[in-house]
């Protein structure tokens, strides 16, 4: 029956809304991502002499869960971020590959520190990127 009907137009919207509603239910916290501004590309920046400028980007809704520390004792956490919120932010920066963009960021701002984004996993439902799972390490 489903094959005869084919894919229902717009059904991915319900999955996206469900994902956002789930994040809101879990607290709907706001996370701050720190992204580097484009490098000047000159010799000083290539030699690590010129610190890149950065800006903070607040994204919500999101959920944060602490994970077991890695073997060297560094803490890590999982941040689940709304695909809707990230798409809006990425559009403002002209970004198409959101996963690569997240991995290239300086990290997640937490308690004054910046935790590096180590992995990004995307939950894709009905063709829509609903949730981004970031693993950030101290």
């Amino acid at each position: 029956m489903a094959d005869q009907l084919g894919i229902i137009a717009g059904r991915s919207c319900s999955a996206v809304r469900f994902a956002d509603a789930m994040l809101q239910t879990l607290g709907g916290v706001q996370v701050t991502l720190r992204l580097s501004d484009p490098s000047s590309g000159d010799t000083s920046s290539q030699l690590g002499l010129e610190a890149p400028t950065a800006e903070d980007l607040s994204v919500s809704p999101a959920a944060v869960k602490m994970l077991e520390p890695v073997k060297d004792g560094n803490r890590r956490m999982e941040i689940v971020v709304s695909g809707t919120a990230l798409r809006v932010a990425a559009k403002n920066y002209g970004i198409e590959d959101i996963s690569a963009w997240l991995l290239s960021m300086q990290g997640v701002v937490t308690n004054g520190g910046v935790w590096r984004i180590a992995t990004v996993i995307v939950d894709k439902v009905c063709g829509a990127d609903c949730l981004y799972h970031l693993t950030a390490t101290e």
């Binding site: 000047s40 590309g41 000083s44 290539q46 030699l47 010129e50 890149p52 991995l103 290239s104 590096r116």
Partner: protein
């Protein structure tokens, strides 16, 4: 030691720009010759890019203990390619050969003047550094990628007043 690292990188970068101007890469939003020192780049989780040379510094030790103060330091250069999608990655071997050719070109002549780049502009230090020729060992193949990790030994006299 830092002037040695910086001078070696800048020499290879400038030679790459001259030998193969089209071999560029976009890192941190800036397009530059496709060579980078990992320790000078922002610590991100992003994977290393294909078709680019990545330098990583290793052990440093006296070249001949008890004989002068000549030092040697290992530098590994990693690079890989996956060919082109238009050719279904069948040309990855050819692309690797092109990278090999560029590497051999930029490593010769195996010496350069040592400069201090701490101020942002090169200040000649009046000495040179030199290095061994790269040996192209067996290529690593992890489909669709093929690449190499080669090690070059760089010889230099440490600057006593330099960090």
């Amino acid at each position: 030691m830092q002037p040695t690292k910086d001078s070696f990188y800048v020499a290879l970068r400038d030679r790459l720009a001259a030998v193969d101007p089209s071999r560029t890469v976009t890192l941190d939003g800036a397009t530059r010759p496709a060579i980078a020192v990992i320790e000078n780049e922002p610590p991100s989780g992003a994977p290393l890019l294909c078709d680019a040379f990545y330098l990583q510094w290793g052990n440093a030790r006296p070249a001949i203990p008890a004989l002068g103060n000549l030092m040697q330091m290992d530098c590994s250069i990693s690079y890989c390619t996956k060919g082109s999608t238009q050719n279904g990655s069948l040309d990855r071997g050819r692309d690797l050969a092109s990278l090999d050719s560029d590497l051999l070109s930029i490593c010769s002549p195996a010496q350069t003047a040592k400069n201090d780049y701490c101020s942002g502009t090169p200040v000649p230090l009046g000495s040179s550094l030199f290095w061994t020729q790269p040996v192209l060992n067996t290529a690593k193949s992890v489909p669709p990628y093929v690449g190499r990790d080669i090690t070059i030994t760089v010889f230099f006299y440490p600057e006593v007043n330099q960090s």
